[in-house]
Amino acid sequence: MQDYLLILLGTVFVNNIVMAKMLGLCPFMGVSRKLETSLGMGAATTFVLTLASGLSYLINTYLLGTELAYLRTLSFIVVIAGIVGFTEMFIRKTSPVLFRVLGIYLPLITTNCAVLGIPLLNVQAQHNFVESLFFGMGGALGFTLVLVLFAAIRERLEAADVPLPFRGTSIALVTAGLMSLAFMGFAGLIK
């Protein structure tokens, strides 16, 4: 049990997928303009990523094995695309505004490098099924955490008197860099 907890804590804080591994920066910058949107994006990504980690583990272990390993990336992308398609329909039905606000970033979860990265990292680290699930969920929760934090900062930044050349994405990137530095502080959390 402790292992799972460590995986979860490790992926959320220490090896945060955005802040430490620098994956998934595209939606991180794209959908962090409003708090509600970032929460929605976080939830959608968490759903997709947890399912994708589990499914890709099953596919990798039982369908591909070693002889079909060259199909790994291809099959993972197919699975992710399927789950994203399902999520898209679900969100469209339940929250049209969120659907509209997430816009292009919702189908782009498919090509979110974090979402593909985590199943591949799972294979690399030779996680078992439950570990894979925790790793996926932890990564997604870490993504949600920084996304929400960043959105909250950006909402305040919106009202700030930023020098003209720094307005918009540039100040956001500077902020993201500072946040990444701050997340380095978690490095010694788990030995």
Binding site: R33, L63, L68, G82
Partner: protein, 182 residues
């Protein structure tokens, strides 16, 4: 080779099945987004956006056919709120469209010949009168769309900017000069 084809088509089949089921289960009948956009539009029904009213414009925005910066009565503020709702960057009003101060139509009652053309033009039923009788605008109901000005054959309708009074007065934005304290 055969194994690879079988595996991939198997995955595709299963996922296809799930997606097909989801498409039926989560079918969306009408886009409620239209209502939300329509709620932001000022309802002047002036047609300056190129659509025959606020609702058609809202529908066009929801479908992605029209841009959000085509509503002059809503002004910058309206564009900003549409941008917020739709999660896009606000932008200035489209070229050729300018935001005017809110005004109402006034009929010069001495000149009015009672032709009823303005009544037919008014999209919000804010003009009262009958054939060959004097017409008048109900100022509280007028949205200032100016649609009645052009049809009048005797040019007896003009727009008047609404003056601020004690009840509609707003506190001004406090002006702060960030000078170094002497």
């Amino acid at each position: 080779m055969l194994a690879a084809i079988l595996v991939m088509s198997g995955i595709a089949l299963v996922l296809g099945g799930i997606l097909g089921w989801a498409a039926i289960r989560f079918r969306v009948e009408e886009d409620p987004l239209v209502e939300k956009i329509d709620a932001i539009l000022p309802q002047t029904q002036c047609g300056q956006c190129g659509y025959p009213g606020c609702k058609p414009y809202a529908e066009a925005i929801a479908k992605g056919e029209a841009d959000i910066n085509r509503c002059p009565p809503g002004g910058e503020d309206g564009v900003k709120r549409l941008a917020e709702l739709l999660g896009v960057e606000p932008k200035p009003l489209d070229e050729g469209l300018t935001h005017k101060p809110k005004s109402v139509a006034v009929i010069d009652e001495n000149l009015c010949i009672g032709c009823t053309l303005c009544i037919q033009a008014c999209p919000v039923d804010a003009i009262v009168g009958a054939a060959k009788q004097m017409h008048t605008v109900i100022p509280e109901l007028c949205t200032g769309c100016e649609l009645c000005v052009a049809p009048c054959p005797v040019d007896c309708i003009h727009m008047e900017v609404i003056k601020e009074d004690v009840s509609s007065w707003k506190w001004r934005y406090p002006i702060i000069s960030l000078k170094r304290a002497a």
